[in-house]
Symmetry: C2
Subunit: 205 residues, 2 copies
Amino acid sequence: MATSVFIVDDHYMVIEGIRSLLQHEKGIEWAGHAQSAASCLAYLQREQPDVILMDINLPDMSGIDLCLEVKKKYPFVFIIGLSTFNQQSFIQKMMENGASGYVLKNATQEELTEAIDLVCKGKTYLSDEASFALREHTAAQIILTRREKEVLELIAEGMTNNEIAKQLFISVTTVDTHRKNLLAKFEAKNVASLIRAAVKMQLIK
Amino acid sequence: MATSVFIVDDHYMVIEGIRSLLQHEKGIEWAGHAQSAASCLAYLQREQPDVILMDINLPDMSGIDLCLEVKKKYPFVFIIGLSTFNQQSFIQKMMENGASGYVLKNATQEELTEAIDLVCKGKTYLSDEASFALREHTAAQIILTRREKEVLELIAEGMTNNEIAKQLFISVTTVDTHRKNLLAKFEAKNVASLIRAAVKMQLIK
DNA sequence: GCCGGTCTCCCCTTTTTCAGGGATTTTATT
DNA sequence: AATAAAATCCCTGAAAAAGGGGAGACCGGC
């Protein structure tokens, strides 16, 4: 029986590209496509494909969140993440949320079909670049607590410790402690390098 | 006579997508594709297409720089920029460097062919989102002087005014002046918001 | 030659950050 | 119940940044 493949990507050209790559492939059936998380979820209520190729960037919800939601509702649908080369920091989160594989958008037809085949058998497929990035990223990953994230956000907004303290209804000294922990975790010597690093790691927008 | 179209994009799937969109289009001839700036330039030495669809993100050189170079050497080749929705800040630079149009990667077949037709006639095509972004961006554009850029870079590195002064062989007070001007230009109240804004506007990486 | 912009330098004051500690309570997790 | 992790709070003192000025030198364009 043929494997049905569904794709979620907001870029029409990418959908077309994958369709074109897969259309003559035996054993693969085109289940359809969606350009948003919402329409993907709507489709899944009617029918479930074997594999979903899912972009990280969607207009209404991130692929990471969508992945989690889809896996919760339809655990037997396998998900393969899709992204461009410079979004590798998301791979980790995507896999944590239940994706079975990860393919970069410059993958060849062979890589794509191999990924679909492997994933259907319950295995994991990571493109070379993806698995490399995963190792790199895991090493350099920085885990922030809830409060630290909040403080970081507000620092990035340009607020002083005093202002942050008022906003969060805590003491200035507490904010200062969180700030110090942030600086330590990022190995940054001041806010400038902190914010730069945080933006690089996609922890703030 | 048919319009020959060449495409430069490092994502194989996007190339396939566009090829699939254009292949049955009368009046459009597929000239080929390249996945890097270098191979694009190599191709152009042999023959020149009428239109190049050019991605902003290339592995070896940015599309913006490639655009400038191609236009310098082959001024009669029309270039249409290609990008995803969240890279709109590059549109301005692409147009400044001689591009004739800009299309987002979620464009439909109609938009794409319309863009190619218009551009061939020497006109400009901007997708709705692109022209909107252009207006937004132009209004909010911030022009930095040579020195300000240098200081900004070093601030982002986490250096203090003192360290920057030593590095640039100027007085601390001068660095401070530049810093103040940067804050004023960005309408930022401290480095945190300055760096965030600068990263957003792609002035630093 | 003049003007605008850039780069340079200096003054002052106040605010904020940074670097060191230390310490208690809350909240999971086992 | 014990432990670990997170969140809370406090102190001191030095360093840096921010906010407010002013001012001379250089350079390119009109």
